[in-house]
Symmetry: D2
Subunit: 355 residues, 4 copies
């Protein structure tokens, strides 16, 4: 194995940005964090303090790209609205890109990123661009996927997945794009991974309620949603997404095949402790996605790095991410309109007029 | 407590009929099984052999009703196609009726039974007529319902339930009316019980596939289905029904409230045994609904008996059963047509023309 | 199957006596409860009220035996100190006996009951006398035993079992004979059942503490105990017994074999409900042995009845019960003296002088 | 936080040694692996290949100590028979020491290491010497310990713990010192941690069998053992150790207090996947301790490093380790002799003559 290290910069040093910086700086042996970028000087100072004096810091993203000629990869972890533009700029410079999810705040932008990547690939076939869906790097999901892939459950046919977040009113902000586009999109990404990346969506239908926050309706959102996705290959998916769990984060997935079933996290748990007291026997649950998927993010950093250095396929296909976003947007729309959204076999929306 | 015993007859002595007869004859202290009816002489002989020489047997249902003047209650457990007619005849004679599910093979017939009962009640206010949805008598579902009813989870808002049967091709017969009307109807009954018996359905949508048996399409059925139900009170339900489980019967329900969640049977199990061997740690699962709900059927027999003798409300409202059937039929239709089915606030179907 | 019913009387109508009466009167189709006996008139009245006017009641046990010439079986459920004498009297009259546990309050008395039974068997080979260790009738323990018996785990070699009762200071009375003789004896009975009824004990050692009630030391008891049993066949057992559980009753058993392991009730639960709230995910636990083993007691009544009527072996061997008591007494003694108690291969105590 | 890095060397590059080297080289941000030592040149080459050309390699331990004047800490991960001597040499040079378990192959040697450390501390109060009991760094055990420490279960009184390894005949070698001294010592260390590091042992008793390998008796060992430990503070511990698990490693601990209980790993699992197939619902189990405790070893490396750099107390007291070894040796002896081993309140063995 080469001892060359991937020269990485992180843009965005909020909560997730700092975590990515930490993972690349200290827990990814084959990577070297050389620069970070944030519009907030205090965040830059904190990074320098934690990761050492060698770290170069930038208030401006373009300036970083210009002044780091040896840079090989950028981790985009800024505000969601900047993801697409920053990704495209890095792509055009030939850098590898790991973009924190979401890839963009609109499907159109996402398609632009994909187009930029496809164009860049023509001259730089080894370039890697990937959106970080952390669950794909989780040991349990991977074990499940390996079992499905080798046929242990026959033909995977019905996919059921739920993302249920602990109630946290501080996250009920306009920056949260929508319950399907922001939360359920993880389940949709998994749907494609488990049912086949090339599964073509046929229709979606969704319903939602506002059990906690009626004002969400004003921005076309709900606090609980359920959805159905049909594919042209005769497979179906059932999604549930909730933002009002009391115990913690409960993300569960079931893959039902013709000869068996695999369940992931059917019994959510924080760790291996059970507490026996006058109320019964109890276990705690992770408070949030990072409590559940921290290890997966570290694996993501390491595997992204390895794919760049070894020129092996990136762990997640960018077109699959865009496809997941398309389905998520359609579900969000269906939830609001109450109408089924249909696609033809080429992936184009069937206009309502044609129905 | 009165020592009077309810005089009961069972019509239909197939697998479920014999079980009902057994429960009333030997495990319901306040009931007395006096007669049974079946068109099959061998079944009558078997019953007489098991339950004793005092038992009176009939090949003809009408004849039984005529010749048993002291009869107080009939358990209808014949073929589904006979349920409605036999129930109505018993109702009109003023007998209490426990009708095995389904109440009928069409929604119209079910409404006729309800109408007959309402009419009969005008002159016989103590008469009990109930369709036996066994899960309502299960100790775990009852514990869950009591918790929800006393507000432990705040406002129950999202209901998720699945009926997943072990694959058994011998049950893939035309007598099986449909995956939503025959299997998922249990979950729909629970939906009404948990979200409120008076919840008015607003719309349903469903999708289904034939992963195992494509020929089901010829009779407008599928072997796996997923569905969504919206209610006018701002609550929603998500249903999954599958007939191809490998391990056994896996019926799971989750009730998500604004302040907590209750799950029933999230980890299906046959009993309290875990087997540790070279394949890991394993538990078995009940092979079928009776393996899971045997105790519930016995409780059902005892509580139906008590409601008749004590003149307390029957454990399940007959109008709720008809409502569940209405929703089940709409889901079955939606699965086949791919169209959402809508209802107005009075419960009437909204015609497609109006959409 | 014969429709003859076993004519049964119950002596003792305390909590467990009434339960036995109920099980034989209403949930054991092949039995007929004809008489009950209690020194408390109110208990007799209550029984008559619940089970009907046909029931004959007695304040005196001897009188009942004299005045019930058609009686076939007696269920002894009186105070423990009366068990042995009442059992012997019934044995000598040729009656079948189901004696609630313990068989007696001393090992010597237990041996007298066994001797009386062995003598009676010489002339009445069909007579059944059994001490009711309810766990032997539990569906999970039976499933486990069947797996072990057919070799699923190879040679069962290490047996671990614990009886952990919910803390209930009202049970800390002198009537409770001792933590090993009263509670752990269930695990010892299981030890013999799983490791082989003819396993000969080689030595025992135990230790105990008084975490809750130091005064127990005055009557040679403790509130928590741990013990080791060695057998001459090279198998060992590890026991734990506690009277201070906070959540409820937690009785767990593991049978470790050379090729696998079976666990019974490794995850105690009241039912199939999980409660998700701000404290995590929780299940409740049965409050006491009856909450855990009610079904087993009903099975016990039915199987004892069947063995009497069919003249098949009683479900539990009486000599095995006496053997379990011998081990329990030795453990109780070891816990108090701190000395290992040893037995020779013929089952005789090895005197300390010989050590 | 200082950006100084701890200069670390690892001696011994077998399976565990390489893991320690990897953890310090790549997953401990505050440590810098500067040298490794092994008598096997190929192991040195492999380390250099994996960790980079800067790494200095030594075939001789003394030579390494002499030629690395800036070295601050040594990780001793060589063959067990070399641990004590290598630890003492490092201690005498003033180096911090993390010694892989066991600290030595005899209690006497362990006491020598402790004596050397105590002497060294007189002049170097900041020196850290610790034996690596990995479970102390496991997130679940720590959560459990925190709950016990803050009184959640009242007074911890009964401790039950088991180490059950997957059957692997290749580990049945003379290098394995004994079932209590090598495996159960982990549970004993936990016993002291949970019941109080200053708990003084009063007596131990053990029994064991050879279910798999009778030849173990020749070296005074068994393949399954059970033990009891009594402390002068009125607390007791129950241990089980087995080397013949079929499914994988099953290490379970229960701490029973006067007001509750904490269980760790009562339901062993490899990950969050459940497999539903014709045999039931199944999960896998880690194959060995590293599958269960990998994260704990990484935490251990980081916390040992932090305690050295920050001069905070080492995570595990060395005298507690020696105490655990004393108890383990006594249990091993008791298992072989069948005699209880007693200690007076000062910790001295009570001679058999005095009994």
């Amino acid at each position: 194995m080469s001892t060359e290290k991937l020269q990485v910069a992180v843009v965005g040093l909020g909560r997730m940005g700092m975590r990515h910086a930490r993972h690349f700086a200290t827990l990814t042996p084959r990577a070297h964090l050389v620069a970070v970028c944030s519009p907030v000087q205090a965040e830059l100072d904190a990074a320098k303090n934690e990761f050492g004096g060698h770290l170069r810091t930038y208030l401006d993203y373009d300036r970083m790209l210009q002044h780091e000629p040896t840079l090989q990869a950028v981790v985009v972890a800024s505000v969601a609205s900047a993801h697409a533009e920053q990704a495209v700029k890095a792509i055009e410079r030939g850098l590898h890109v790991l973009c924190e999810k979401p890839l963009s705040t609109s499907l159109e932008e996402a398609e632009c990123v994909l187009a930029a990547y496809k164009k860049s690939l023509l001259t730089r076939p080894g370039q890697k661009v990937m959106c970080g869906f952390s669950r794909r790097f989780d040991a349990s999901y991977r074990d499940a996927h390996a079992r499905v892939a080798r046929g242990d459950i026959g033909v995977p046919s019905v996919f059921r997945s739920q993302t249920c977040d602990k109630l946290d009113l501080s996250t009920f902000t306009p920056a949260y794009s929508g319950i399907f586009t922001e939360s359920s999109v993880h389940d949709i990404d998994l749907t494609l991974w488990f049912l086949g990346e090339d599964s073509r969506v046929k229709s979606v239908f969704a319903a939602g309620i506002t059990a906690i926050e009626p004002a969400l309706r004003e921005r076309n959102d709900r606090d609980n949603g359920i959805g159905i996705v049909e594919f042209y290959n005769g497979k179906i998916a059932q999604l549930l997404v909730s933002r009002m769990m009391a115990a913690g984060q409960e993300d569960t997935t079931e893959i039902i095949g013709t000869q068996g079933k695999i369940a992931v996290n059917a019994a959510p748990q924080l760790n291996l402790v059970h507490i026996h007291d006058a109320t019964g026997i109890r276990r705690e649950v992770p408070a949030d996605y990072f409590g559940r998927f921290r290890e997966a993010f570290i694996t993501e950093a390491n595997e992204f790095t390895a794919s760049c250095l070894n020129d092996t396929p990136a762990p997640i296909r960018l077109d699959s991410t865009v496809n997941a976003m398309k389905i998520a947007c359609a579900l969000q729309e269906s939830m609001v309109t109450g109408q089924k959204v249909e696609f033809d076999e080429s992936g184009q929306r069937v206009s309502l007029a044609k129905l």
